[in-house]
């Protein structure tokens, strides 16, 4: 969550919003600059998303089949992430557990939202263990551990994947940039990397990827190849 966005520095701002820096103070010009910027960002995410079908299509099908197997065998989905990604973890859990009909509800728990446990572990042990310890307490072999990060380098996620892999869970990871440490760890069975250096675009594309993963998992549960 602390990685710099590519639109962040002042030079970029000047390129993106020329009217603001040209001495023009007309309200319409400022508004027009903002409008054009919004339009450009919308086009950027559309292009990034369109590239994901080929990039991750096969891996998504494979992961969905594996998750369907796990659910069929009584496995549950445990999700985690930090900051904005914690809200994605909760959104993923909610989608699986309370999907739009007629999809079947599947057992899923979001780990970041137990504030008592989260703050207890952070205070008493350290922030790196907040998800690993909860996976150790809740997770069983055959469960699915799904973690979301933009940098791929969050230490508490890496620790969680270590723990999940050690316990025989299916591990699913989301990252951005080049996948960071999550791509190197050897503990993430199914890793989906969004190749962008913008935290915002990464999160937007990840939302699509986990929605498609859910859709394919439901299809696989229905017996689709």
């Amino acid at each position: 969550m602390t990685a710099p966005d590519h639109a962040g520095d002042a030079a970029d701002m000047e390129t993106l919003y020329p009217f603001l820096y040209a001495g023009g103070t007309r309200a319409d010009a400022l508004l027009e600059d903002a409008r054009r910027s919004a339009e450009a960002k919308a086009a950027e995410i559309a292009a990034l998303r369109a590239d994901l079908a080929d990039r991750h299509g096969e891996a998504l099908r494979r992961c969905a089949r594996r998750m369907a197997e796990a659910f069929r065998a009584g496995g549950r989905l445990l999700t985690f992430g930090n900051g904005g990604s914690s809200t994605d973890a909760q959104a993923v859990a909610r989608l699986f557990a309370g999907p739009p009909p007629p999809a079947p509800p599947l057992p899923a728990i979001s780990l970041p939202h137990d504030v008592a446990t989260l703050t207890a572990l952070s205070n008493d042990v350290g922030f790196e263990v907040v998800f690993a310890r909860r996976l150790a307490a809740l997770g069983r072999p055959g469960d699915i551990a799904l973690g979301l990060s933009t940098s791929g380098g969050s230490r508490n996620l890496l620790r969680a994947f270590d723990e999940a892999a050690r316990r025989g869970m299916v591990t699913v990871g989301f990252a951005g940039y080049d996948g960071g440490a999550m791509a190197e760890a050897g503990t993430v069975d199914h890793l989906f990397v969004v190749p962008s250096s913008s935290v915002h675009r990464i999160q937007e594309a990840q939302t699509t990827v986990y929605h498609v993963l859910w859709e394919l998992t439901v299809r696989a549960l229905e017996g689709a190849p």
Binding site: M1, T2, P4, D5, A7, G8, M13, Y17, L20, T25, L30, L31, E32, D33, A34, R35, S37, A38, E39, K41, A42, A43, I45, A46, R49, A50, L52, A53, D54, R55, H56, G57, E58, A59, L60, R61, G83, G84, T87, Q90, A91, R94, L95, G98, P100, T150, L191, V193, V199, H200, Q203, E204, T207, T208, H211, V212, W214, E215, L216, R219
Partner: protein, 206 residues
């Protein structure tokens, strides 16, 4: 990972369902810019952002709050924002006493003021708690912004917010994806208006 190989039809179809709503999002750019100009005006006057939504949209509310309070771009100032979806004691307490539809309205009554901004998220525009929240926010003189989708439901029909941003899809998953882009844009462009020395007064302050 099998990178670069053509995807299977089911996968391709899933991604293609995002293409048209994604293109349509660019058509909202003017509305987004105007919403940001007005939001920046409220922040400049010392107002805060109060965000709410039910179910999956409650996670968007939390994401929006953290986005404004703790920006991903280093050096951007923290802006005051709070999500009404995180306090289980408040939510269940209000729901038990006044009904589920009141969970946001009751909190807004206590926390909201005329300089503040209310941002309600409802993917189909039919969430009674969000509609009541926006009604209360209006009564309090807050700037009201809504993210919705599909046909916008009651929310769009009633024009329940000063700025209604609509994601054009019937699929709740696709609507959420468009909302994530929309609120990232809201955050980014609010800062553009805030940082510009000659930024105009918002329409509603003229």
């Amino acid at each position: 990972m099998a990178e670069g190989r053509p995807a299977a039809p089911a996968v391709r179809d899933a991604f293609e369902r995002r293409a048209e709503p994604g293109r349509a999002l660019a058509g909202q750019a003017g509305d987004v810019a105007r919403a940001c100009r007005d939001m920046a005006g409220r922040f400049r006057d010392g107002g805060k952002l109060i965000v709410f939504g039910s179910g999956g949209a409650s996670t968007d509310a939390q994401h929006i709050a953290v986005e404004f309070v703790h920006p991903v771009i280093v050096g951007k100032r923290a802006l005051p924002a709070v999500s009404l979806t995180d306090d289980a004691a408040a939510l269940t307490g209000i729901a038990a006493a006044e009904g589920l539809d009141a969970v946001f309205a009751a909190q807004l009554d206590l926390l909201g003021g005329p300089r503040d901004i209310a941002l309600g998220v409802s993917g189909d525009g039919r969430c009674p708690a969000v509609l009541r929240g926006l009604e209360t926010a209006r009564r309090l003189g807050m700037l009201t912004v809504a993210l919705t989708g599909a046909d916008g439901g009651e929310l769009a029909r009633r024009a329940a917010a000063d700025h209604v941003l609509l994601a054009g899809s019937d699929d709740p998953c696709v609507v959420k994806e468009m909302h994530v882009t929309l609120y990232h844009l809201l955050w980014e462009l609010v800062h553009v208006f805030l940082e510009h020395p000659d930024a105009p007064e918002p329409d509603d302050a003229r």
